[in-house]
């Protein structure tokens, strides 16, 4: 009898696959059950936003940033506006700063809701946590609709402030409602998932990244913090007055999928804390500075970053005194977080690769731009 032999073959996970969170493909080479090589194939959603932005004025580019990471459009707006403000030397009123903080933290809550829900979906908790995520996010979407007129692609931040003053009274009421209902909802999720045997078995020790590897791979956000590196742009390089709010950076200690999940849950709690402080201290006054529509910043360059829901979201803008940016580059966190995909998936099974991809929390609109 001849011994049992196996030879590697290629499995395509995606691009049309519910667990790839969009049109994204992992080309996995498997030998038996185990993945021996993984390659990420992307670009199915490429819309050449960087090229388009070179042809439009600084203000016209804000809606493009919505369409990169469509689950956290406020953070994208903010990163771009910060870069242009830095480039043109535009100051922002205190009220606008506080509104920006409230909006980006609400956006983080909404985005992490989806991240946690979709991740639970990937690990086998079929649909229920996902539906909870949609239900809870709706409260935040309502606030965005109230302020900007749109739910997902808000286009709310402006160079020098925000587009509209939030409606007096109803805005505060709605945000207080979110602050009131969210902590128990987060606890609900934690109760169902954190000690769930199946969930822990699917995520503990899967996709482990050491802190050194995470730093070397330029990972950011919950990926980096899950590996035990307490690095948060809101603390390290505060923008919009984040230094005045009291919050903590949650970190994991094993660097596996479970830790990334826990970090996201804890970040949601911290976000509620920040929103409460920002709303209590919401100053009056103007909500934006007047900026000419056809803005022509002095020649130069600026790199501004914010802590988006997925990590460091940077905008690199070069001006040549023209009405449009000479170069407009986005540093997309989920694109760069995919660098370590191979390290996390090799050695595991195909089912683990799905969990790992869920823990990276990619948004393909941002990966491909």
């Amino acid at each position: 009898m001849s011994p049992v032999t196996s030879e590697p073959f290629v499995i395509n996970i995606g691009p049309q696959h519910p667990s790839t969170h969009g049109v994204f493909r992992i080309k996995a080479t498997v030998d038996g059950e185990r993945i021996v090589d993984a390659e990420s194939v992307m670009g199915y959603l490429h819309r050449s936003i960087e090229k388009l932005a070179e042809e439009r004025t600084y203000t016209q580019n804000i809606p493009f940033t919505d369409r990169t990471d469509y689950l956290s459009s406020m953070a994208n707006n903010l990163g771009y506006c910060l870069a242009v403000e830095q480039l043109a030397g535009i100051g922002v009123p205190a009220r606008a700063q506080a509104i920006r903080v409230i909006m980006s933290e609400l956006q983080r809550l909404a985005s992490h809701c989806m991240a946690v829900g979709a991740f639970a979906n990937d690990t086998g908790a079929w649909q229920t946590p996902m539906m909870w995520a949609f239900r809870d996010r709706e409260k935040i979407m309502d606030i965005f609709e109230m302020c900007s007129g749109a739910r997902l692609t808000c286009n709310y931040m402006r160079i020098g402030g925000v587009a509209f003053d939030p409606p007096a009274g109803t805005f505060e009421e709605a945000v207080r409602e979110v602050i009131r209902i969210f902590p128990p909802l987060i606890d609900d999720r934690a109760d169902v998932l954190v000690e769930n045997e199946i969930f822990v078995a699917r995520t503990r020790g899967i996709g482990v990244l050491t802190a050194e590897m995470a730093i070397n791979s330029s990972l950011t956000g919950p990926m980096l913090r899950g590996s035990g590196v307490a690095w948060d742009i809101r603390k390290a390089d505060p923008y919009c007055g984040y230094e005045q709010y009291d919050f903590e950076i949650p970190i994991g200690y094993q660097g596996d999928c479970f830790d990334r999940f826990i970090v996201r849950l804890e970040e949601m709690r911290q976000s509620v804390k920040i929103i409460e402080q920002a709303l209590d201290g919401l100053p009056g006054g103007p909500y934006k500075t007047e900026v000419p529509l056809s803005l022509r910043p002095p020649a130069g360059e600026a790199y501004a970053r914010v802590e988006g829901a997925r990590g460091e979201l940077g905008y690199y803008v070069i001006s040549d005194e023209g009405p449009a940016p000479y170069r407009f580059h986005i540093r997309p966190p989920s694109f760069i977080n995919l660098t370590a995909l191979k390290e996390m998936t090799v050695g595991g099974t195909v089912a683990d690769a799905i969990v790992v991809l869920g823990s990276v929390d990619i948004i393909v609109g941002e990966v491909d731009r």
């Binding site: 050449s48 090229k51 004025t57 940077g314």
Partner: protein, 175 residues
Amino acid sequence: MATRHISGEQMAAWAESLVPGSVARTDTFACYLKQDQLRETMAALRVSPESDLVYLVNLCGVDYWDHLEVVYHLHSLVKNHIGTFKVEVPDREKPSVQSVTSVWYGAWMQECEAYDMFGIQFEGHPNLKRILLWEGFPGWPLRKDFLSMPGGLQPGLNEFAGVSRRPEPPVRVVE
């Protein structure tokens, strides 16, 4: 505590002390490194306790018509400072820069993207290929002279006449 932006002179002093003759020039924003010792300089800047640039934040290409540039934003997590390094690539026909993927693994995909968009060859990259576009895509789309749109139209700001950086098109065909 906000991140400290390192001046071009300071970065040039570090690079020069680690690898003599590695700096081409400096300006207010950045330190321009020479191409031939790029990887060596970057590796030294990464491990030197003074600069401690362990974290590659961002890598991208820029086209300046007469030359291409690769921009590196490097960060120290412990000292909390950020610096901008640049490399000029004068040859537009066959642009080539040393890859820094062996120094920072995080450069892998970003170098692929710069190759995809600008056609910059990164020597020593383990698997340099087009990442967002498909193999065989004609041209390098983020270069300033990439102008082919359907029907021969030029993209541009028509309402801001006289400010376009592009040369006038010979014939404007409208379908």
